[in-house]
């Protein structure tokens, strides 16, 4: 591959929330939702972000789009740092970044027709009006597998899978270069999930935009992503090419996560779960490596020093002190 400038480059992204308490609403603690996350995403590439609830994956997604204001860190879109930009200065960049949310029931205005929903971004950004807008909306409907005559229908007249198609059409309307998908298929039935995943992949192949794809379902992420980053308590603990990550996971948390996925094969029954206990609170994350409280390979060093992401093979980085910082080999 030639050294190209990545489409999106995130460096040391931090998002802290204040916890207030007492009569005076003084700050009594800090939620470390995202605690120093860095990654890059090339054009036409899909980066999967996985982790359990509360690991900060959705906060990363929203901070990248500046739907949530970052505490610190740089977010470079095409080399331009958008983190310090004012709302007005940010506006032209909004066109290049769109999002598809999890719940297609909550993210569509029930009083607007599907056609108006998909056409709204075109009006907001002053791109098309009148017949030209209608034409573009009809074209978008066809691209996502809906019929143009469905433009006059309201969201409640669509099934869950169709509503998610409307959300995708709306995201596509401005010709974005980056689409953030936050659990886009989690609310759908299995047979409908496959339809939406196939659609997302087909659209990317045709239009060459990038996805930042967030899901808790490892199988879905494995299917759609080119690279995968695993997050735990606000940090990326491992990031690699997806084949490499699933064939050769190096972080004990990634290994446990993969082993916890129920395999649809009765001959491959698992015996005991690999990790015990719950994810610790991000208000008081453990010192050192945040995973050391649940890790069965934890050493003294893990309790005091935080491991940084280090190379562990080609296109593979891991944050673990085992084996001189290259993680555990199975």
């Amino acid at each position: 591959m030639t050294e190209q400038r990545p489409l999106l480059e995130v460096t040391d992204l931090v998002k802290h929330y204040a916890v207030r308490g007492g009569v005076l609403r003084r700050q009594v603690g800090t939620v470390h939702a995202v605690d120093g996350v860095s990654f890059a995403l090339s054009a036409g590439e899909t980066l999967g972000l996985v982790g359990e609830s509360g690991c900060g994956k959705s906060t990363v997604a929203r901070t990248v789009l500046r739907l949530v204001e970052p505490t610190s860190g740089a977010i470079k879109l095409d080399g331009e740092d958008i983190a310090p930009l004012s709302k007005t200065a940010l506006r032209p960049y909004r066109r290049s970044m769109q999002i598809v949310f999890q719940d297609p029931f909550a993210s569509l205005n029930p009083r607007m027709t599907a056609g108006d929903i998909v056409g709204e971004p075109l009006s907001v950004h002053g791109i098309a009006t009148g017949a030209k807008k209608q034409e573009r909306v009809a074209e978008l409907f066809q691209q996502v597998g809906l019929r143009p005559d469905q433009m006059k229908n309201f969201p409640h007249q669509f099934s869950g899978g169709q509503r998610q198609r409307i959300c995708i059409a709306r995201a596509l309307s401005l010709g974005p270069r980056l689409i953030v998908c936050d659990e886009p298929v989690s609310a759908l039935d299995v047979s409908i999930q496959a339809q939406v995943i196939n659609l997302l992949i087909d659209l990317q192949r045709k239009q060459n935009f990038s996805y930042l794809f967030i899901a808790h379902d490892l199988a879905v992420v494995a299917h759609i992503s080119h690279r995968v980053a695993v997050m735990y308590l606000g940090r990326i603990v491992e990031i690699a090419d997806k084949h490499e990550l699933f064939a050769n996971p190096r972080h004990p948390y990634t290994q446990a996560l993969l082993a916890s996925v129920p395999i649809a094969d009765p001959k491959a029954r698992r015996t005991a779960p690999l990790i015990d206990g719950d994810v610790p609170s991000p208000i008081n994350p453990p010192s050192g490596c945040a995973f050391h409280t649940r890790c069965r390979y934890a050493m003294d060093r893990c309790k005091t020093e935080r491991p940084a992401l280090q190379a562990a093979g080609t296109a593979h980085q891991v944050a673990c002190w085992l084996n001189d910082g290259t993680g555990r080999s199975e």
């Binding site: 995943i197 199988a219 299917h223 084949h243 129920p262 009765p266 001959k267 994810v279």
Partner: protein, 337 residues
Amino acid sequence: MSEAIPAETVLDVRNLQTVFFTNSGLFRAVDNVSFSVRRGETLAIVGESGCGKSVSALSIMRLVPDPPGRIVGGSVTLEGTDLLKLDDAAMRGIRGNRISMIFQEPMTSLNPVMRIGDQIIEAVRLHQKVSSKEAWKQAVDMLRLVRIPEPERRAQEYPHQLSGGMRQRAMIAMALACRPALLIADEPTTALDVTIQAQILALIVDLQQRLGTGLILITHDLGVVAQTAQRVIVMYAGKKVEEATVEALFETPLHPYTSGLMASMPAVIALGAESDARLNEIPGMVPSLTNLPPGCAFAPRCKLAIDRCRQEYPPLSEVKPNHWAACWRAGEIAGAS
């Protein structure tokens, strides 16, 4: 269908029919469904939203809201008693005692203003003549059984003080407190993270085998089924379309809907050379129950459908020993594999 119920059978459901009367017509939510569960056995009921799997469970518990719903036919025999013939008072003596249920969302099923221990005691004292002190001891023992650390302290706490996985453990403790003959778990791990899901499933299966409880596991996740069940029934649009042992079902699914479901699931382990292949999608969507096609409900989405499928509903038949399917072409599918 066998007349005599084998001695070890805990629950026997025969020709259950539950309908809902709504403004847009009559829904046959559960249409002539039969199955049985043996002691210590796990039966999984699989299907997508609206297939009738949860209504089947609510029918067994006699918790179908009436109106609009009503059980209009069939029998539900638990340890020799037909539950559909019991009056409300007798049914209350069964629920939480001989049959218990665990729901998907532990936060909405627990009372937020009652201590965990008190909620378990409530079930125990309703069905057993024990002192409150003895019941509290039992509650703490149950929390210990579901491997909640520091059970004495946790029993004093309120639901919001527990994590999601811990709450589901508390629900399991409550459900098993009276040592029921049958436990129904409706999507028990769907709201949980994958590492916690693995812990909870392992716990349910372990306890069920130790206590000899029959378990009905309702889920949409075929991975969960493969990991926990002995037998599986697949439901589509209110009907049972396939039943088999878990090994036989995953080896050779005989109904096109079952094989379609399996093919549409992305698999983590199948990361071979061509993992970027398209998933096999099942075209279309689940039909509305008020407007079912005359023949097989799956025919409009089925690649193998022939004219007969669109006209006549296929009966459930034993295509291979102990492997039933409701499909006109199941024989061919079984022969080809």
